[in-house]
């Protein structure tokens, strides 16, 4: 059976940074309207809705706000990886004939609300409360710190190598007028910034900002009136490994090993075919492990791989081109903005940070406590 190809036909960011004149719902609405306009569609065309972290019952409150009563609704909870998974699910739903116009939207005001917490548990009965929080393990910071420490022990990875990732993100952010942090930094700045959870420093850790976005997944037929070129979804995949960090089978291998295999297999590509990479950068170590697990380098080779500005502007593998969660924006769940940037790179509309001739882009979400991963491969027709 020949499956109809699915496309991302519209993308938009919400207001970013510190947002005082919107609610989360109005931010998501503004971005949704803009993304639909790019796709040549309106709210009346939407028959599938995807969101999470927008209040109780997933899609329900956002659907009411937008006036959308979808025939397909999905509030998959994979943390930062939810949004690449939404694309995966939207493609499957379109292939199955269950929807034609899927709207994916999200917004957060975690900065202005000061809602970011070091701990998530409120009662003592959960497994996390009993076996992690009682030891003072801050989530997710402490989990990622122990992953980084293990990688260093096992493979000799250094703090300077992790710092290369933060420096690359910042050098891209300098080219993005919407980025939150644009002042240049060096690897020395990163390793000399305050240690928070060894071996992670302040500058190994993502921003806390307001933000979000929207995107539209649909068919070529429904995108025929699109104002901008639609980008084809070539492949998608997802997986998960653990919640408690002691339950992760190998601290140096993430769910990207499966999500990448699935997405690259569906697309019929390898890492060598990727022109621009948008990896989730909650922490510098998140990027390093994604590079290994997606096959850009071998296991344990990530530290050497990122040296010499390989991910930075002018490097062999342009990555984090918006400035990433480390320097552009991190609204609690960053996965949607990875897709927005990937689409803009493939359309050639990324301005000063445009990667010349980008034909294949990968957005890779990571969520929870390095628990989940989802990968989307996009390409120009």
């Amino acid at each position: 059976m020949k499956l109809r190809p699915a496309y991302i036909a519209g993308v938009a960011e919400t207001p970013l940074g510190e947002v005082w004149d919107h609610s989360e719902l109005s931010m998501a609405a503004v971005a949704s309207r803009e993304a639909l306009a790019e796709a040549g569609l309106t709210f009346a065309d939407v028959d599938a809705l995807f969101t999470n972290y927008m209040g109780e019952e997933g899609t329900v409150q956002l659907g009411e706000y937008l006036g959308v009563m979808p025939r397909y609704a999905d509030s998959t909870d994979l943390g930062g990886a939810a949004f690449e998974a939404f694309v995966h699910h939207a493609v499957a739903a379109i292939h199955a004939g269950r929807c034609e116009v899927a709207l994916i939207a999200y917004a957060s005001r975690q900065r202005t609300r000061r809602s970011r917490k070091m701990t998530r548990e409120s009662d003592n009965s959960s497994l996390s409360a009993q076996f992690e929080l009682s030891y003072g393990l801050p989530g997710p910071l402490g989990h990622y710190a122990m992953i980084a420490a293990r990688h260093m022990h096992q493979f000799g990875t250094t703090s300077e190598q992790l710092a290369e990732i933060a420096v690359a993100a910042r050098s891209w952010a300098a080219k993005n007028p919407k980025a939150w942090a644009r002042d240049p930094i060096t690897t020395a700045d990163v390793v000399e910034s305050r240690l928070i959870c060894d071996p992670l420093h302040r500058l190994d850790v993502c921003l806390v900002t307001d933000g979000g976005g929207a995107l539209v997944v649909t068919t070529a037929e429904r995108a025929r009136d699109a104002a901008k070129r639609a980008v084809r979804i070539l492949g998608a995949g997802e997986s998960q490994t653990h919640w408690g960090i002691a339950q992760m089978p190998d601290l140096t291998v993430t769910a990207a090993a499966v999500s990448g295999r699935e997405a690259f297999g569906m697309a019929g590509i390898t890492a060598a075919d990727v022109d621009v990479l948008e990896p989730y950068d909650s922490f510098t170590i998140t990027v390093l492990l994604a590079l290994e697990d997606l096959g850009f380098c071998g296991k344990g080779e990530g530290g050497a791989f990122v040296e010499g500005g390989r991910l930075a502007p002018g490097g062999a593998l342009p990555a984090l081109t918006s400035g990433g969660g480390l320097s552009y924006n991190h609204p609690g769940a960053f996965g949607l903005l990875l897709l927005v940037e990937a689409v803009r790179q493939l359309r050639g509309e990324a301005g000063e940070r445009q990667v010349p001739g980008a034909e294949v882009a990968v957005a890779h979400g990571v969520g929870g406590l390095m628990s989940t991963a989802s990968t989307v491969v996009l390409g120009n027709d």
Binding site: M118, D123, S125, Y135, G136, L137, R150, H153, L195, G244
Partner: protein
């Protein structure tokens, strides 16, 4: 007669972990071991993760372990713990891993550590680990470990 379940007074409100915490009160670290395949597992579940068998026994662990990873936490997280302190994952000699604290002279990743306990005001003591002394450095037989 109605079965109200186990008495969880002074324990986390989780009936499935009550045997673990009751043993902790006596400073015994207990794990589940599968009657069918002999594997150990932690945390407790009503089936064996390796072979799905539902018949599991509670067995006291030797208390020997190796540091798998660790971090020094330098920010305040919970009122009971004043930073900096060390959180670690240790691999028990029986096979399972658990998150814990390292106390005393700080071990490195790969070092042998041994079990001790940290008392708490309202809940059972927590199993924590310290650098193993002389004669504690050798792991037990790995037979049956998982």
């Amino acid at each position: 007669m109605t079965d109200h379940g186990p008495d969880l007074t002074g324990l986390p409100a989780d009936p499935t972990t009550a045997p673990f915490w009751r043993a902790a009160r006596e400073h015994r670290l207990v794990l589940q071991r599968c009657r069918s395949c002999g594997r150990f597992q932690f945390y407790p579940r009503p089936f064996c993760l390796s072979c799905s068998d539902p018949e599991l026994d509670w067995v006291e662990a030797s208390g020997g372990a190796t540091v798998y990873s660790k971090t020094t936490v330098r920010i305040p997280v919970i009122p009971e713990m004043t930073p900096p302190y060390v959180v670690a994952i240790v691999t028990l000699d029986e096979g399972p891993r658990l998150t814990t604290n390292l106390i005393g002279d700080e071990p490195e990743i790969g070092d042998r550590v041994s079990l001790t306990w940290r008392e708490r005001a309202d809940l059972p003591p927590l199993p924590v680990f310290r650098l193993a002394g002389d004669g504690e450095g050798q792991p037990l037989s790995q037979e049956g470990a998982g």
